[in-house]
Symmetry: C2
Subunit: 313 residues, 2 copies
């Protein structure tokens, strides 16, 4: 099994290292940490799987330098306007390559389906707490579960094989015939908690929920309605389950908040913008989502004007 | 004309000084700046009326110490849960006292009407840019217009007399039989721009409008609908007028943003909370207002929890 990982960060580095542990031939394309990974590989420090070193077969700066044909490309970057997902993988895609993206957001399939109509496209979701703590050390703190499914909805034997390998490596990987639905499901949680943690200047999930549960539920309800309108109805109790499990889990600092605090681009478009656009397209009113989306845009806006004086209004 | 001003800040100090200039007997209750005002009075530095010193007849720390009977009490504090408006004035209210509040917000009449059913209650709105720049210096930067009206809707001869005195002092003061409507009118502008300037971490009005005009209009539209439901319909072009005049005016830093930056309480309840509660009461859906209101509450929430580790979601 030949695998090329794009984005050797907390997600791609971890999942690539798991496949390598199972004997796969895994190469990586690195951005900022190329030198360190080239020299010493990646060290994974996992709460449940122990510590090990992952030496990629090829460590590359440019995807075009990849030698051979990848059975799977694992695209594991964030989904932000600053990164062109097609460009990131294009030069390594061969007819037999499955394109697997383990990324956040809803309705992020289309550009890959349109650009690579002959390839297997596999959509993946990671439920994981992991951080890159040095240039080439990844700390796996909790969870790790993966969900994979081909788009349009099915599970190919090649996808099943990849899932089996992940399962053998010690993390859970399920497959689904409706990965689009699974994305909407995850969005039910992401749409309120990720942006509200940023807009509140750093509140943890439990504070947001304790203070504004009714409001959080209204945001979730809109995601549920949009998912249904796109023919991916979610379970009737999904909101109750998300609320009660968030009360039960330790106070979370969301990934969007971590990005905001570090001054990195946030996945606002992939999570909120795409949800709002789907709502508009499907004629599902979504004023709560629209409001958060607008405020997230204002939050990162660079002022064009300056006031000559402070004024009362 | 005997006048007692409660809150000798940028608003109360300025309007009190105007009445004193016209020969009224004006006293003030001060909080933080008692010593300085007692000693040297208040200096007004106005862009259009020049500079002058205002020596109040009585400078008081406690309203109960007021000697005599005020014809008018001018209540000019912010409207925030931290300040009990009834308590602030109660000990100086006599049967012949008109209670005039020059304050922001909607539906802020009730507690005064209920507590002082025998008194004239006069609701006032100031359209002014003024700042207290030292303990006893007020800089009047722009505008200054007042609108006054009795509640319930009428204009008493005593209110008209007060308006005449303001007009003679050099600022415009109009009276209206529907001051409640005037409050909703002002709320059309305040509801979007005040909180969005805070939630965006300091954007000026022009940036907010340029980036999110459609969103701003949706917020305004909800205020218009709630006003209509409370039997105070606004002019059909009020939103267009607010939008175009905001494009035309210099970039504004809102009063709520100034309060936020200074760590002072904000008028979130008076402007947003009361509008949302009116919407609920009148069965007018207002998801955009609800969203901003919820986010303003999150913005100032002190976290109850701390995360043991940063986590991805």
């Amino acid at each position: 099994m030949k695998v090329l990982v794009i984005g050797a960060g907390a997600i791609g580095g971890f999942y690539g290292a798991l496949l390598a542990k199972q004997g796969a031939d895994v190469s990586v394309v690195c951005r900022s940490n190329y030198q360190q990974v080239k020299q010493a590989g990646l060290t994974i420090d996992s709460h449940c799987l122990g510590q090990w070193n992952f030496k990629p077969t090829q460590v590359l700066q440019h995807v075009a330098d990849y030698q051979g044909t990848a059975d799977y490309i694992l695209l594991c970057t964030k989904v932000v306007p600053e990164l062109d997902r097609v460009k990131l993988i294009k030069n390594a895609v061969k007819p037999e390559t499955s394109i697997v993206f383990i990324q956040n957001g809803v309705e992020i399939e289309q550009e890959l389906l349109a650009t690579f109509p002959e390839n297997e496209i596999v959509s993946g979701l990671a439920f994981i707490c992991s951080n890159r703590i040095t240039a080439n050390t990844i700390s796996h703190l909790a969870y790790g579960r993966l969900t994979l499914g081909n788009v349009p909805g099915s599970v190919s034997s090649k996808t099943q094989e990849l899932a089996n390998t992940f399962n053998q490596s010690g993390i859970k990987c399920q497959t689904t015939e409706d990965i689009i639905k699974a994305r909407w499901q995850k969005c039910v949680w992401n749409a309120p908690f990720n942006p509200l943690s940023v807009l509140s200047d750093g509140l943890f999930t439990l504070d947001i929920l304790t203070s504004q549960e009714a409001y959080v539920r209204k945001i979730m309800q809109e995601v549920v309605k949009i998912a249904a309108a796109t023919n991916h109805p979610l379970a009737p109790d999904i909101i109750d389950i998300n609320v009660s499990s968030t009360y039960a889990m330790p106070p979370y600092k969301t990934s969007m908040l971590l990005d905001f605090e570090a001054g990195r681009p946030m996945e606002t478009e992939a999570i909120l913008g795409n949800a709002v656009r789907a709502g508009l397209r499907e004629n599902v009113p979504c004023p709560y989502l629209e409001s958060i989306y607008a405020m997230m845009q204002l939050k990162v806006l660079e002022p064009l004007t300056t006031a000559s004086a402070s004024r009362h209004t």
